[in-house]
């Protein structure tokens, strides 16, 4: 029976014994793909799910695709999910996830694989060479120590893969005889191998170690670079010439066309200020102006509006978003012009890409380091000794020295390697987590810019999960509305209309219940908000992290490109489930996708429970409770729709408040009750798990003495 959308096989790598095996996808089909598939594989393959450091040899790392990868589902074809126990979180490195874009997931599907399970540890550095169904584990001693770009170029060269774009078809056959044999002909491609690799930060098993593909597609959170480093795995290269069957190609192409015509602003005459996620023009997500107009937009496979760029200037290619500004505050100290500012910033992006270094840690971490230095606490001969040339702070040279040191466990990198909050405790800087000088708000991770004291679903979703959630589903509300206020422009959508449109799509828990979006003081710990958080967890676990719809473009709740201002999400003509069904033939409803997400989310919680999770540790950093989110500290206002005393919806400024620790405890209880978790511990119960078809998971929890007690 054809598994539409799937390649049908999962690659199992036993690095310890350097063996390669094949696992059928069919038994995992109900998990969807991506995170669901990966979590189920982790459950089956990880023999010790109590580990709390991803560098433990028992850790299993999974790279998982979705049936939608390699198809033209708009901004659903290019992402790839990474899972396993992470590194560097606090107090426990949870079973966690990361994601990256580009060409890798498409190519893995073309090669005939839905996922890769990486188990064990090689005795010496290796890389994995996947060419269709031929998989070799090769010696990487010549690659170890090279940066991520040099590694990819070296692997290309070793494979005889062409550089540049003036090449012909690459015949994957080893001989002419193979090419002539229908049973053995591997086919041809014009494409280059898609390579995922680690750099020095991962090789040295630092918490900042990330995975990097092509020039700028990085899986940063979770320290998966360190996980690979601990396994002596340098890189995985994949090239494929196969095909991905879809259930209804006509329906798929039709839905893509509908998306373009109805939901996306026309490229010939765009509305540059459209309120939409999927409907915007291609535009790089830069923190400062691009260095030149000599550039193109650049996109992951299947994306409807690329968020990156490639330039003529020789730097900054494929970097986007946070990595293009991790160093911005420092550069501003020294730059003499906007041109210099742009160049140093983008070259600093290249540095972190090449080192395979997660720049997100600098989101608030750089500010903290500068504070420590300027206060005379960090530096040569200071309480926190550092020989780094802090007088050069803001220059490109300093950026490189800083990243080099942190990637090689040198200087302050020796302490930061196991986690930044861990280092703060070691350095006696616990106070900074109270005052907010160190804004690492959840699980040892930096606050994202959407402060938990203001935008509740972000903070709650992160602390009730495993990491900074990095799910911009509702965050577009803040962005659109706040920007409109800043420009004193009329709102494209008034508050009541906006929440009404969104609530219409929040089935099943919050359908047509706009109150779930009210983050005002009177509602911030309510069951309403708890239902929103539930919906958010479940939607993202399936549609974003398993089906792999890109966080930048989905969900599309409201959309000013359409006549009724309603977006593509859950729509009958171009909703997420429409695309899922066109590819897989599953015939699910939108709500059934949410339910799949609930199942996946609960499997995650079961794994966290085995790792030692208890509700008592589910708390933000102290500053969230003790220090108000200062008005004007980052922006003059933080606008969000809330109801006033008369019950009328207005856009309201959420700055200036803290979270109340006791009320947050009550909120947790509400959330746990709604999820069916034991409210005393936060652990899943047998009834809950059995109802999700996870009875054997309940058995494992019971055996470990960590099965939640049934509720009344």
């Amino acid at each position: 029976m054809t598994l539409y959308g799937y390649a049908g096989k999962i690659l199992h790598l036993d690095l310890t014994n350097r063996r390669v095996a094949e696992v059928g996808t069919e038994k995992y089909r109900s998990w969807g793909g991506g995170h669901g598939l990966g979590a189920a594989l982790f459950w089956d393959f990880c023999r010790d799910k109590t580990i709390t450091d991803g560098r433990h040899p028992a850790n299993v790392c999974i790279i998982a695709t979705s049936p939608l990868n390699g198809t033209p589902v708009p901004s659903g074809g290019g992402r790839c999910e990474v899972l396993g126990v992470g590194v560097g979180m606090y107090p426990i490195s949870w079973f966690t996830r990361s994601g990256f874009g580009g060409r890798f997931s498409t190519m893995l599907k073309h090669a005939g694989w839905d996922a890769i399970v990486i188990e064990g540890k090689a005795s010496s550095p290796v890389w994995v060479d996947i060419r269709n169904e031929q998989v070799e584990i090769r010696d990487a001693s010549g690659l170890w120590g090279q940066d991520t770009w040099a590694t990819q170029l070296a692997i290309r060269e070793s494979m005889g893969a062409p550089n540049g774009v003036e090449n012909g078809w690459w015949d994957l056959n080893a001989s002419a005889a193979e090419a002539l044999d229908p049973a053995r002909d591997q086919g041809r491609t014009t494409q280059k191998p898609a390579i995922l690799t680690i750099g020095p930060a991962g090789e040295n098993q630092t918490a900042a170690g990330s995975l990097l593909h092509d020039a700028g597609n990085g899986a940063g959170q979770g320290g998966f670079g360190a996980v690979w480093g601990s396994k002596n795995l340098k890189a995985i290269s994949v090239i494929g010439t196969g095909e991905i069957p879809v259930a209804d190609a006509k329906a798929l192409l039709r839905a893509r066309h509908v998306t373009q015509q109805k939901y996306v602003t026309p490229i010939t005459q765009p509305d540059f200020a459209a309120w939409s996620k999927i409907g915007n023009v291609p535009s790089p997500l830069f923190m400062n102006p691009p260095p030149t107009d000599q550039r193109r937009p650049q996109a992951c496979q299947g994306c409807i509006a690329g968020c990156r760029a490639r330039f003529a200037v020789g730097y900054g290619n494929e970097s986007t978003c946070q990595e293009t500004a991790w160093y911005l505050p420092a550069v501003r100290r020294v730059a003499k012009s906007a041109k210099e500012l742009a160049e140093i910033n983008l070259r600093a992006a290249d540095v972190v890409q090449k080192y395979g270094h997660n720049s997100f840690l600098f989101q608030t971490g750089l500010h903290w380091l500068e504070h420590l230095h300027e206060e005379g606490i960090l530096g040569p001969g200071k309480a926190i000794h550092s020989e780094l040339p802090w007088e050069e702070y803001g220059t490109l040279e300093f950026a490189e020295k800083l990243i080099h040191a942190l990637s090689h466990r040198q200087d302050i990198g020796a302490d930061l390697a196991d986690g930044w909050v861990q280092a703060a405790y070691k350095w006696g800087r616990e106070e900074d987590l109270r005052t907010g000088h160190m804004q690492f708000s959840y699980w040892g991770m930096p606050e994202h810019g959407y402060d938990p004291r203001a935008e509740l679903e972000w903070g709650y979703g992160s602390i009730l999960g495993d990491r900074d959630c990095n799910e911009h589903c509702f965050n577009i509300i803040f962005t659109n509305v706040t920007a409109a206020f800043a420009f004193a422009k009329p709102m494209r959508l008034e508050a009541q209309e906006l929440v009404g449109i969104i609530a219409g799509k929040l089935s099943p828990y919050a359908k047509d219940r706009p109150e779930v979006l009210d983050f005002g003081d009177a509602n911030m710990y309510s069951e309403d908000v708890a239902q929103l958080v539930r919906w958010h967890r479940h939607y993202t676990r399936f549609y974003k992290q398993s089906a792999l719809f890109c966080d930048l473009r989905w969900p599309d709740f409201y959309n000013t490109n359409t006549p009724d201002q309603r977006g593509a999400t859950a729509s009958d003509d171009a909703g997420e489930h429409v695309f899922w069904n066109a590819v897989t033939g599953d015939g699910i409803t939108f709500e059934e996708g949410i339910e799949r997400g609930r199942r996946i989310w609960n499997l995650d919680n079961a794994i966290w429970t085995l790792q030692g999770r208890h509700r008592d540790m589910v708390h933000f950093a102290p500053y969230i409770y003790e220090t108000p989110f200062e008005k004007g500290e980052l922006f003059p206002f933080y606008m969000w729709p809330c109801r006033d005393e008369d019950g009328l919806w207005r856009y309201t400024d959420l700055m200036g408040r803290t979270l109340d620790k006791q009320k947050f405890e009550e909120f947790k209880t509400t959330f746990y009750r709604l999820e069916g978790w034991d409210v005393e511990s936060g652990w899943p119960t047998r009834t809950l798990l059995a109802g999700l078809g996870l009875a054997e998971v309940a058995d494992a929890l019971e055996k470990a003495g960590r099965l939640g007690k049934e509720g009344p």
Partner: protein, 233 residues
């Protein structure tokens, strides 16, 4: 232009000795005769002169965002599967090269004097009179000899080898696209043109200059592109 096969085509940049052939035929008015009659003409020396295609794809390699949607749409529209190796348009890109040399869009040129049509021993590859003389391969007649692939003078070769079905295939301007709702061909829809999010591929009825290697790479960037902050040069 570099080629990846021994080039024996009439392309002037490849084989100067053969450049006279087109000139001779043009001088004899053969092309206009063929255009007037709308039918192929077999000359005494077994050379086939075929009517011009009524449609062509032109591209703007400086505009392409490298998303590969065109390749997916092409293979899906024709074969119901998504496969880059089966795509009749190829996007080549190199993440470690700089703009504009980081992307190449390779489409079939629907050559006036198509060598792949010339060489086909079964007539599978022909200028289809029912569909605007588009040069297309009839899969029922293709015997998988790969001569057409060997004869294409461009890099990458503009025909694809379907290694599962053992046939060659090429861009037919979406004549044979059972998985598209609409009709294809020169009078209809091209899947890649429609799928491209930035408008880097266009259909035209005007035959680009056959003596130039670059004539199919055009500037499709206008005022909106400039407003987006990108070069229109």
């Amino acid at each position: 232009m570099a080629t990846d096969r021994d080039c024996t085509s009439s392309c002037s940049s490849c084989d100067p000795a053969l450049v006279s052939r087109r000139g001779v035929l043009a001088g004899l008015g053969v092309f206009s005769m063929v255009a007037a009659f709308g039918a192929p003409v077999l000359l005494a020396d077994d050379r086939l002169v075929i009517p011009n295609s009524e449609g062509f794809l032109v591209v703007d390699r400086k505009k392409c965002q490298g998303c590969g949607t065109c390749m997916m749409a092409c293979s899906l529209g024709h074969a119901g599967v998504s496969s880059y190796s089966l795509s009749r348009i190829q996007i080549l890109q190199d993440s470690f090269a700089d703009w504009p040399d980081d992307v190449l869009i390779a489409t079939c040129r629907q050559c006036q004097d198509a060598p792949c049509v010339q060489v086909c021993p079964t007539g599978a590859n022909r200028a289809d009179p029912e569909h605007g003389h588009v040069r297309r391969v009839d899969p029922d007649l293709c015997i998988g000899c790969k001569l057409c692939i060997a004869r294409c003078p461009y890099t990458p070769v503009r025909l694809q080898w379907d290694h599962k079905r053992r046939k060659s295939q090429k861009c037919d301007l979406c004549v044979d696209t059972p998985y598209l709702d609409e009709e294809g061909g020169p009078g209809g829809v091209q899947a890649c043109v429609r799928a491209c999010p930035v408008g880097a591929i266009a259909f035209t009825r005007t035959m680009p200059d056959q003596s130039s290697a670059d004539s199919y790479d055009v500037n499709l960037r206008g005022a909106v592109w400039k407003q987006l902050g990108m070069s229109t040069d």
